[in-house]
């Protein structure tokens, strides 16, 4: 037996920890496996046997239905990716531009602007005025900007950023750069921005998830199939399959074909498709989180 050095934990503890983490990992992975298995199970066998890890009869009917019209899915993917990328970049940029000035103690109107953003966080106008602004004032109905603009600025994100700037960018540093001749923009982009990468990454991730998962704006503002985001397309397909299968007998004509759809397997197949590239975003942002953690560990 090798001697136990100071940095190692004892063998039994190590084994137990491993087992615990293996179990945790399995509990995280198994549901996804089950979802996948259900999505490739024949629907009749689900009705008869319930959910099974090893399906009695395989069927790709659900995927066939979803990809029957792959151009629609491809377009929705395109819309979602565009909205997520453009929306995230714009919203991080705009949030930081709002947050930075109100984090500076020497900004004369900071109290007013801080209150403004705080106030909108507490009191919203309500759904109808909100809808009116976007459809009648800005005329964004059936436009891709209707999926981006409504989520550009979140007061909550602004306040997080403001706090971060206040805590991690010493005013002395800003003063020093001013003395060295940097203008406000140069200070922001070359001094504040590199120092605040963790908060930019955090807000970026928030916004990425927010934009990727958004279906509400599509539902409210878009009736053109070309502009459906992926999540809304999925949501719509499921509710349609649900509605038609429940009310199948009431529906005449060609829609009864749709009413025969295997709802459950389609739902699972869509869950898998909907996860999509967003899982890739996590590893990308993760290194900034680690940096953020170490930064916080230094006592000031």
């Amino acid at each position: 037996m090798e001697p136990v050095t100071n940095n190692e934990i004892s063998r039994p503890a190590n084994v137990i920890l491993h087992i615990i983490f293996i179990i945790l990992a399995i509990t995280c992975l198994l549901p996804i496996v089950l979802v996948f298995m259900i999505s490739i199970t024949d629907y009749d066998s689900i009705v008869l046997n319930g959910y099974q890890f090893i399906p009695e009869k395989l069927s790709l009917e659900a995927y066939a239905y979803i990809f029957k019209d792959y151009t629609v899915i491809a377009k929705a993917y395109g819309v979602s990716i565009f909205v997520t990328v453009v929306g995230t970049l714009l919203s991080v940029f705009i949030s930081s531009l709002y947050a930075y000035p109100i984090s500076r103690a020497d900004f004369k109107y900071r109290g007013f602007f801080a209150f403004l953003i705080f106030f909108t966080m507490l009191f919203g106008g309500g759904l109808v005025p909100w809808y009116m602004v976007y459809t009648q004032v800005l005329d964004l109905k059936n436009s891709i900007w209707a999926l981006i603009v409504p989520m550009l600025l979140s007061p909550f994100n602004v306040l997080i950023m403001k706090t971060y700037f206040q805590m991690s960018v010493p005013p002395a540093l800003i003063e020093a750069s001013k003395i060295d001749g940097a203008g406000e923009l140069r200070t922001f982009f070359q001094i504040v921005f590199p120092l605040s990468l963790p908060v930019f990454a955090t807000i970026g991730l928030f916004n990425t998830l927010h934009y990727w998962n958004d279906w509400f704006n599509s539902m409210i503002f878009v009736t053109d199939t070309d502009l459906y985001s992926l999540q809304y397309l999925m949501y719509k397909m499921i509710s349609q399959a649900d509605y038609l299968s429940r009310n199948g007998a009431l529906i005449q004509g060609s829609a009864t074909e749709l009413a025969k759809l295997p709802g459950e397997t389609i739902r699972m197949a869509m869950a898998l498709i909907g996860i999509g590239p967003i899982v890739l975003a996590y590893p990308f942002f993760q290194r900034y989180f680690i940096k953020g953690l170490t930064l916080g560990s230094i006592k000031g």
Partner: protein, 513 residues
């Protein structure tokens, strides 16, 4: 550092508020959306406007675009249908049509937003008809109907128009289809034949008991009485001579036709006896164990051989519809006399929006979908050769995945103008006529309950009935204590106030009659 501590506190305060906000708000986008408006101008590119520039034409009628909002879809190929319709409409009423399909997810909410925000649009399928009509969302149609839709007025059953009348004004034109609704069973024909069941002998729900017993003994693979969380035996009320009057259809407010009194049907000995019977069936093993929560659709259960009958609303062509859905021959037995109530008539109607710029033209269009088979079939079936093929004089076959299939004829217009679908019963017109002839019209037709005064109670009551109904009807538990508990909760939530409100409106309605 004192300052740091302070900001830390502020941050946690902010976090706390943020969390509680996102917890309370049903929808985060609302909370976050409002301030975005301040930034919007700078980033918003010129929006792709879908308003077609109205090309001025000095015909008899100036050309206009009519917008039509329907449930379902949206279909991929709707543009080509629009184009075909527009070509056809040009000579008729010189209007173009823009079909907006709202898909099946909360279409009512979307229309409510449009109505509340005063958006300009023309024709809309009537979700929440009563509420919206009372709010003044729709245009009164009496004069328009008399002037621009004489043919429709002449052919439509007056009962329909009565049902669409609120406070003396006609606010919508109902779809002309089967008059009433009935509930009943659709049995798997193979099983019925195998055991020689006489389905015509079934007069009430209780009569299926011997059949359940036979299935239980002879067909171990089949659940004799299959239930799921949406379809329970509450389809079969113990009070055939009555009508559910509240707007929600979810709370116990039945009107007894004999006495014209509204009562809570869950507080009667009859319902207890019924639920006890179901409990007996459950104990005998006739009912699936997880009936209150099972999500399997009845048609799928029948199709896979797990169940041998379905139940629910039936219409004249149910035999055919269910056979197609279950993919095996079915026999139908309707249980109650076909009943025509205000609610069954209000099922699908088309209204003209208060904000419409061209109500006259909209009414002309509505007249055409009730009387012109060419237009009606274009709208509901699409273009010949592209979305359907003709297989007979009046019979068509749909082309699969044609990209236009979700504007159904039950939504708007006159169903009997439609071509016959290849799978449909060739006797459809006859079936509809017979069905309508045998329908019993409610004695209080035209009564619509205005629920504005008791809206909050109704919300609470719906939650309570939802909480208990499935358990009660699934037979899983002894019904007596559950009924007691449910009724005391209903009372506490203000059921009596709702009932007396309905009763006083009903009395006023009867007095005015």
């Amino acid at each position: 550092m004192a300052g740091k501590k302070g900001t830390g506190l502020l941050l946690s305060f902010v976090l706390l508020i943020g969390l509680s906000l996102s917890g309370c708000g049903g929808n985060n986008s609302n909370n976050e959306a409002a301030p975005a408006g301040t930034q919007a101008d700078s980033t918003a590119a010129p929006a792709a406007s879908d308003k077609a520039a109205a090309t001025e034409k000095t015909n008899e009628l100036e050309q206009v675009e009519l917008s039509l909002y329907l449930p379902g879809g949206p279909d991929k190929d709707v543009a080509s249908v629009e184009q075909a319709i527009n070509e056809y409409l040009k000579d008729k009423i010189n209007a173009t049509i823009k079909i907006n399909q709202l898909s099946w997810d909360k279409p009512a909410d979307k229309v409510n937003l449009m109505i509340q925000s005063g958006e300009v649009f023309d024709m809309v399928y009537t979700w929440n008809f009563m509420t919206n009509a009372a709010k003044g969302a729709y245009l009164p149609l009496e004069e328009l109907l008399d002037t621009y839709a004489k043919e429709t007025k002449a052919q439509i059953n007056p009962a329909y128009l009565q049902a669409a009348t609120v406070n003396g004004h006609l606010y919508a034109i109902p779809t002309e289809k089967e008059l009433g609704q009935s509930v009943g069973f659709a049995f798997d024909k193979a099983i019925v034949d195998k055991y020689g069941f006489d389905v015509n002998s079934i007069k009430k729900l209780e009569d299926i008991e011997p059949m359940l017993k036979t299935i239980k003994e002879k067909e171990p693979a089949i659940t004799p009485l299959f239930m799921n969380h949406t379809d329970s035996l509450n389809w079969f009320t113990v009070y055939p001579d009555s009508e559910d009057l509240d707007g929600s259809n979810e709370i116990p407010t039945l009107l007894d036709y004999k006495t014209m009194k509204v009562f809570n049907e869950y507080d009667t000995p009859d319902i207890l006896a019924r639920l006890k019977l179901i409990r007996e069936w459950y104990k005998a093993g006739y009912i699936n164990k997880n009936g209150a929560t099972d999500k399997t659709e009845l048609k799928d259960a029948v199709k896979s051989g797990k169940a041998w009958f379905t139940y629910g609303n039936m219409n004249p062509t149910s035999t055919n519809d269910w056979s197609r859905l279950a993919e095996k021959p079915m026999v139908i037995k309707t249980l109650l006399p076909v009943q025509v109530s205000t609610k069954s008539l209000q099922g699908s109607m088309l209204a003209i929006s208060r904000t419409s710029k061209n109500p006259e033209r909209a009414m002309m269009f509505m007249n055409l979908i009730h009387t012109d088979p060419v237009l009606y079939n274009l709208l509901t079936f699409g273009i010949e050769g592209k979305h359907y093929k003709k297989v007979g004089d009046n019979t068509v076959e749909f082309i699969p995945d044609s990209g236009y299939n979700s504007v159904s004829s039950w939504m708007i217009g006159n169903v009997l103008l439609n071509y016959l679908n290849k799978d449909e019963d060739p006797k459809r017109v006859q079936l509809y006529t017979d069905w309508n002839k045998n329908s019993k019209v409610s004695p209080v037709i035209g009564f619509v309950f205005d629920s504005t005064k008791v809206q909050s109670q109704i919300g609470a009551l719906i939650n309570i009935t939802k909480q208990y109904k499935n358990t009660l009807y699934s037979g899983e538990k002894d019904p007596e204590p559950i009924l007691k508990e449910m009724n005391s909760k209903l009372k506490a939530a203000g059921l009596d106030a709702v009932i007396s409100e309905i009763q006083s409106q009903m009395d006023a309605f009867l007095a005015a009659k």
